[in-house]
Symmetry: C2
């Protein structure tokens, strides 16, 4: 690891390397066959050709590893695996020798470099450090792409070059990723999926059965770890990945790509039928976990991740080739991208033949946990998955190290926007100025904390007191789900997130007569053995239009809400004490639509309007508004509230309609063990969400509300009462 | 003004009115001729037909005026003039009688209502109150559209109906708008333009020459007021409207529409040639005053206003019909809309014939004032008007009552976004909850104040001490402008905004070797007779990535910057004292690009990082970041700074490049009366902006900077020095 320079610099990128003469790639091989591809594939081919041709002008650039994520050598090695992959595919598709030559030369440079490498100088700890990159995960990702590029050109190489690249690069890298990084390789975790995929695909390409077996069955080949076990434990039977959609997207690529290689090399394994077709189910579930193409930002999610990402280009292409599901074609269309494989050719061709149908975004209950017993994610939708409504109840388990303390939290999407939001991760991916692009300290101090989510906080502490190990052991229990259009309801219970406190939350998306959009209803029932302080935050997205109640405002000296567990990051704007649902409301505008949150205030309760961003000297946090309903010294309690989307602001036409709430009032009635929430609109329509909490679907329940007798069957129901 | 109900309610909109049986309009007249229009026009026709047909189902709804802006009766009367206009055009285009009948019935309802009306109950003051609306301006807008709708059906009416509508509605309304609202009508102001247009067009339709003359020449027909005089005084010779682009857009419609009527009825007037074709010049200038289709938000501007607005649909159609400028077609294409007139038919047809060419967004100097002597707006661009760069120096005059105290302020656009921003107006147009949709108190206390702009604040007071009358009397002086690509430079001087203080600001958009985008350079030279405190704010749009200097942060108790003149609305995040341009910088990210502001710190100067939103108990303000460079107890001083756009954040590909500044340092040299600013990039390139302030273009100037002798001709120049 001396100052030896194998690197050849990008122009102007660094002064510590020289620029190579690389004109050997710059001529074009005009004799290559020209095929007619469908537009989507042709664009992909053109894009790739233009990218690789551009890179050829620069030449072979393989720097000695030095930088952490976001730094020069990190980005260059990332660039290189894309080049190797694409040059390989271009050679396969076009037959142009220059692409094989270029991929070969890069791989030869790596074959010279790789054996000289020790631990990465920018490693965080030895256990997970890579050779080419600061973390072994990136080495695995490098391998997954590079081995595919190598596969495409390997037959064209001289025996000597082949031997050199086989032995000095891929065998050594596979050894490093498997036995050399045994802890990571043996995890049941997406990092291990990348590693096993890289190693297993290398095994197929090199004809090394041992590598394949180790990848599939773990280092000891017992099947207790390895790729197959990962596919059993990492996805629930519904294809939900316990870390959440952002990592589901990330984990999907090695699953799908390695499965494709297994299918090709070991068809008898019927990998795509493994565990009831779990891999393809995981693919469609990944897509279901989006709104406007963006993943629900559960846990440590980077919010700008959408379906327009390499993993999903691969996923959609492989999935479509296996299933011919026309809904996947419309996703490819939205992506505007595909991959340089036979599957990509098929996607483009069938898309051009107008075979696409809208992807069936649906109301779904997605169980979490390998056996589907560790809670669930409930998705309630109306309209399409791009601009319709989506109410998401996150009743899933902690989801390992990237999990947040957000049990029974929720989000709401409408009109193309996230209206009730989840902060996601506190991280600026790959931006050097922000701690090298790693997770920021505020990811722990804010983003993971309960108060940063739309969940219940007891005594200003996070769930499980912020102890991830404890959180891993105890998942929510999904009690009920109905996806019936107009009356979608989900209910779940969380025990032991706080000692002696259980909470049960029922979320519903109800169509109420005369209202513009379906109404969100939220009934949170808390049962405790002792007195506590309860905070129920609502993180919303928009600009306040109207506060229904008097507010004591901190307009000239802004205090912080608390000391720890995320509270230190909250500025208080003002506090109020609404006493009735008639004035316990807040209206805001997001884009061109208005939203009103309305709740039944508890006796003595307080409402805090606030914003994130305190105690953030490095400006690491986004500043976002929130509302916190606080009840002190209470034992059993029910928080009942609604969220209403209404009206329209049309700036171009200078026309505004229904900018104020169309709901007159709401009323909560506790009838024994039952909860009833009545919603009365200004126009006089009355709706009730009635909850018995009784799982027996055939049992009839009766109650009285607003002087009217009602009855319903089973756990919960939505009733439209008499009224206009 | 009793409770008499002429109104027939929109379903569910109010309970104080009844719903009419209106099935007489609901049959369709299938015998109507079907013409083949180009797509854009056909869509317009379909949209209009669908709108009017929908309205017909509801019937005639003419409520007794009651509400202010945004309220029910206000919105309904606005709706009605759109219906009358469109039903009239539909009758003319399709010959379907039902449209004439519907427009007639609405007009008859108005003819019954109008004579009963006195002052509007929601008026602010008698002078400017309307009859149908709370302000007379809205009555005039009603008239401009309604009279065109009436014109289209008038010949089809029975003599009795015609007489009734002529006499009881339009004659009375014209009388009210002219002699009845003499103060407004006689102004040189856009409100008067709407009034004169409505009255004059009514004169043409009713064949009332007196109304036409009064409209064209003023109530006394002297020509000292009235439409013609307005067209001379309200636009500068470059077609700039002194109130700014937002109002320019608004004022344009009555000018263009009335001019169209004058051309038709009085072709000998050659109205479109009046004053060297000022009306069409005003149209193209209006379009030049946009970025990404949105108007530069000078003064009291609502920021979401774009070219997609009724006024510009009309403007583009009339303009194209007169000029056949193919650039206007591309604007129509971007708008995706046109109007229901012969001009609209032509626009759609020529657009379908692929005659469109990109609108030539250009670097321009637009003089302000009737004679072009009241300052100017300098626009410096690179690339297209949608995603390229635009540096805007607002060196124009106060612009009357909607003007802001922002002399020599600037904005910068890049990558489709406003990067250095202007707050615009503090107003939520037509949103009832926000003071009935009127200007908010914060429009005076924040939006108009100097500190809310990118301009110089002396002693924490606004320009002209916030006195608009004083501001109206003194405009900036544009000293120099060069639109030369790569070296665009504007320089202007402001005297008397503060007693005894002059300031001269030179803004430039320079292409510097090796940098991604052109660099913004800002040299502000202040000359004062006595010691003052100077604040130079930078209002930017983005999330802070890196602060170059140490910051004393207010992370747990956020103070306010000052007491008055806008300072009471500023929260302090932190303060620092950078001592060299090497660390006097701030880097932020906006969307996928990074920006670094860098400056030469003054001895003893302080930098304040802050945010708007303090002392805002009603949440009327947007919360936006700013940087303030403060120098205390200084007399003559030069603020020298640059703004650099660099790098890219690609979230999908997880790749970040050049997230840190590519500039090594900057250096300011004061050489006698001359200012020199040297920029040195990390790669070693050196550029100088040299300013002599000498208007003689033929005079040579010499200076020395960084040990190098340089020379240039005239006022200012951009020199690339030796270096890599």
């Amino acid at each position: 690891m001396s100052g030896k320079i194998l690197a050849i610099a990008l122009l102007g990128a660094t002064s510590s390397a020289a620029v190579a003469e690389s004109s050997q790639y710059s001529h074009s091989d005009s004799a290559a066959a020209v095929q007619n591809y469908a537009p989507l594939f042709q664009q992909e081919l053109d894009r790739s050709r233009s990218f690789v041709d551009e890179m050829m002008k620069i030449g072979v650039v393989v720097p000695v590893p030095k930088d952490p994520g976001g730094g020069y050598t990190h980005e260059q090695h990332k660039q290189n695996f894309k080049i190797i992959y694409q040059a390989g595919q271009l050679y396969k598709l076009t037959g142009e020798q220059k692409y094989a030559d270029y991929a070969r030369d890069i791989l030869l440079a790596y074959a010279a470099l790789y054996p000289t490498l020790g631990e990465h100088p920018a490693r965080k700890n030895s256990q997970s450090s890579g050779r080419l990159f600061w973390q072994v995960l990136n080495d695995a990702m490098w391998m997954v792409d590079s081995i595919q590029g190598y596969e495409a050109i390997r037959d064209s190489l001289s025996a000597a070059d082949r031997q050199n690249i086989d032995d000095n690069l891929f065998r050594k890298a596979a050894a490093f990723l498997s036995t050399g990084s045994a802890v990571t390789f043996s995890k049941i975790h997406n990092h291990a999926t990348w590693a096993t995929a890289g190693v297993g695909m290398t095994g197929y390409v090199l004809g090394d059965r041992n590598l394949v077996d180790v990848a599939l069955l773990g280092l000891d080949k017992s099947g207790k770890t390895g790729f197959l076990r990962q596919s059993e434990l990492l996805f629930s039977p519904d294809g939900y990945y316990t870390e959440g959609p952002y990592y589901q997207r990330f984990a999907l690529k090695p699953f799908i790509v390695f499965a494709g290689a297994i299918e090709k090399n070991d068809p008898a394994r019927k990998i795509f039928e493994h565990r009831d077709g779990i891999l393809l189910k995981a693919l469609t579930t990944t897509i279901q976990l989006t709104y406007d193409g963006h993943f629900f930002p559960f846990n440590d999610a980077i919010r700008d991740k959408s379906l327009k990402t390499d993993e999903l280009f691969h996923g959609v292409a492989v999935g479509y080739a296996k299933t011919r599901d026309p809904g996947l074609l419309s996703i490819a269309q939205w992506q505007g991208r595909t991959v340089l494989t036979d599957d990509g050719i098929m996607v483009a061709k069938d898309l051009a033949s107008a075979k696409a149908k809208p992807f069936p975004f649906a109301s779904l209950l997605l169980a979490d946990g390998p056996e589907g017993k560790q809670g669930a994610v409930a998705i309630m939708r109306k309209g399409d998955g791009m601009t319709g409504q989506a109410l998401v109840a996150k009743n899933s388990s902690q989801g390992m190290g990237h999990g947040h303390f957000d049990k029974l939290s929720w989000q709401y999407y409408d009109n193309g926007l996230e209206i009730v939001s989840d902060y996601g991760a506190a991280r600026f991916l790959n931006i050097e100025a922000k701690q090298g692009g790693r997770y920021l300290p505020e990811n722990e101090s804010w983003a993971k904390q309960t108060i940063a989510h739309n969940s219940l906080v007891v005594d200003e502490k996070s769930h499980f007191n912020g102890d991830r190990k404890a959180a891993d052991k105890r998942a929510p229990e999904q009690l009920y789900f109905s996806g019936e259009m107009g009356s979608q309801i989900s209910s779940a219970k969380m025990a032991d997130a706080y000692p002696g406190v259980d909470f049960t939350r029922t979320m519903a998306l109800l169509e109420v007569k005369g209202l513009d959009q379906p109404l969100v209803v939220d009934v949170m029932r808390v049962a405790a053995e002792e007195d506590h302080q309860y905070d129920l935050p609502l993180h919303y997205n928009g600009h306040i239009m109207r506060v229904g109640f008097d507010l004591a405002s901190h307009v000239a000296d802004r205090p912080v809400l608390g000391e720890a567990n995320g509270y230190q990051h909250i500025w208080i704007d003002g506090t109020g004490k609404p006493v009735s649902p008639d004035n316990a409301f807040l209206t805001w505008i997001s884009k061109d639509r208005f939203y009103t949150a309305r709740w039944v205030p508890q006796t003595g309760s307080q409402t805090i309007l606030a914003e994130s961003g305190a105690n953030d000297p490095n400006f690491n946090l986004r500043r976002e508004p929130m509302l916190v309903n606080r009840v002190k010294n209470a034992k059993d309690i029910v928080f009942a509230s609604i969220l209403e989307a209404h009206g329209r602001y049309d700036g171009a036409a200078e026309r505004t309609t229904r900018s104020d709430s169309q709901v007159k009032t709401i009323q909560h009635v506790e009838d024994g063990e039952k909860d009833l929430l009545l919603i009365e609109t200004l126009a006089g329509a009355q709706s009730v969400l009635a909850i018995s909490y009784d799982p027996d679907a055939d049992k009839k329940h009766k109650a009285t509300i607003a002087g009217q007798k009602i009855s319903w069957m089973g756990f919960a129901a939505h009733l439209q009462l008499a009224g206009e």
